[in-house]
Amino acid sequence: MNRAKSWVTYLQVAPLALVFLLFLIVPIATIVVVSFFDYNTTQIIPAFLLQNYEELLLSPVTWRTYQQTVQFALITWALTLLIGFTVAYFVAFHVRSSTMQTVLFLLCTIPFWTSNVIRMISWIPFLGRHGLANTTLMNLGLIDQPLEFLLYSDFSVVLAYVHLYTLFMVVPIFNSMVRIDRSLLEAARDGGASAWQTLWAVIVPLCKPGIAIGSIFIVTIVMGDFVTVRLMSGGQSASVGLMMLNAMSLLQYPAAAANAVVLLLLVLFTVAAMMRLVDIRKEL
């Protein structure tokens, strides 16, 4: 590349690079630095202490919260994978006209462009004590008291996760599926494979990159979440995100920062493990 052209190239990526430098790298570095700071009730004091980490990692509350968060992530991951794969499979392999495929695919993606907070709130009239689910079940005579676990429970938290984020599984898996060469499926059939065998031996392995990308999205979103847990559990469940939020509201910034660093490491290790399965740049 000649010099004039490389100058233009750098100019073209400059805005992108600048945003990531100022609003991603520097803030994350700030978190790391502040996590070693000292603090009292009114201010943070520059220092180099390991105390924030000690207090964090020696507290049983931390471990319980992390365990709960990982548990939410695992359950959500399994459910969204199952539902997302089935939905994508239907649209990719059972819908014949490509116009119809596009329409159905868009139908699944439109909610992505609307507000998450509103979509969570919209479960209230459905799941509440006097909500649609309870009144219907009572009218049918299946229960004689409203089910309390429907809203403000771990159940409603997972339900909201699945509701909000299954999309992140559908899109990449669908993307993998439409790239599968149809003659492979014919070959499998000609070779005598049943529909199930084709699914397991041909389609699922070829969808691995899509599954990996979807899983990365789901796991990172759920591990860092606090809004859903706060709104849908009615303050009864904990999450790492909420723990940070509480520390922040008590002005214990270094404590929140130390927790953020631990969470970041956990997320990055998880993602690095999943990235081994996929080369993202080849998937676009």
Partner: protein, 279 residues
């Protein structure tokens, strides 16, 4: 499998239909309930039908600062949209060439997508605190939103340029077009529909963003922050009215984007089918 439509097809079609109902059902429920009569509550039955709660939305003392936060979110969303489109397009052009640091920049974009939003919010908030600056929705909030919209824009541009036929550019160059003319009269018209798509992402993701606004928006709330605040202290259908209005705005943006898609496609078909096929 392609072939006859057996029981597997109907089973999966049923599953898909249930999934769509699951996606849209709750939103439709609050849409209906937002027209609840003045004496109605948060759940069914409907107690008459009225626009009472929509009117309530505009009385300032009732629900905080709806009009102000709405305006801020619109301005912020449009600003983020413009920057996302311009920066993603220009970075997309650059990434077609090998340049030093392209790998690092690409992984930064991925990192920006997977680092939990709360950490970005917290980091920017802390940074401003350490520096002694005031956070505000149009400065720190703007940057925080860009860390979420730019990776999406960039990934879309990658997908688009991977399918872009560079022979159009070569042809333009052979005919004597300058690099700027090539972009302005060849690349840009062909990619315009994709750029509208990037714009849709930029606007709606910013307009609905909550976590990244939390510690970066400063004194004045954006709309999602306002709504979140309301969930803890408002127990009337005015909450649903607000939900209906914001969802309406999102749908308006989506509808607008698809309208522009349709117009552009028709225009490209009129002006020669090559351009249409390449995009």
């Amino acid at each position: 499998m392609p072939g006859r439509r057996g029981p597997a097809y109907w089973l999966l079609a049923g599953f898909f239909a249930l999934f769509v109902l699951f996606l849209y059902g709750p939103t439709i429920t609050i849409l209906v309930l937002s027209f609840q009569g003045p004496k109605g509550g948060l759940t069914f039955p409907m107690n008459g039908v009225s626009l009472h709660w929509f009117g309530n939305l505009f009385e300032k003392q009732m629900v905080g600062d709806f009009a102000g936060s709405f305006k801020r979110s619109m301005v912020l969303g449009l600003g983020v949209m413009v920057v996302t489109v311009v920066a993603s397009f220009s970075a997309g052009l650059a990434f077609r060439n090998r340049f030093r640091g392209s790998g690092v920049l690409f992984y930064l974009a991925i990192a920006s997508l997977i680092v939990p939003s709360i950490l970005i919010s917290l980091g920017i908030g802390l940074l401003y605190r350490v520096l002694g600056w005031e956070t505000a929705w149009y400065s720190s909030g703007f940057g925080a939103h860009l860390t979420w919209t730019l990776p999406f824009g960039l990934l879309i541009m990658f997908a688009v340029f991977n399918r872009f036929d560079r022979r159009y550019e070569e042809a333009a160059r052979d005919l004597g077009a300058t690099p700027w003319q090539t972009i302005r009269f060849v690349v840009l018209p062909i990619l315009l529909p994709s750029l509208v798509g990037v714009g849709l992402f930029g606007f709606t993701l910013s307009y609905d963003e909550f976590a990244r606004s939390l510690y970066t928006a400063g004194t004045f709330n954006t709309l999602p922050l306002e709504i979140y605040g309301m969930t803890t202290n408002v127990t009337t259908p005015v909450l649903y009215a607000l939900g209906t209005v914001t969802t309406g705005v999102s749908f308006l943006a989506i509808g607008l984007a698809f309208g522009v898609f349709a117009i552009l496609r028709r225009r490209q078909q009129r002006h020669g089918s090559d351009a249409g096929r390449a995009a």
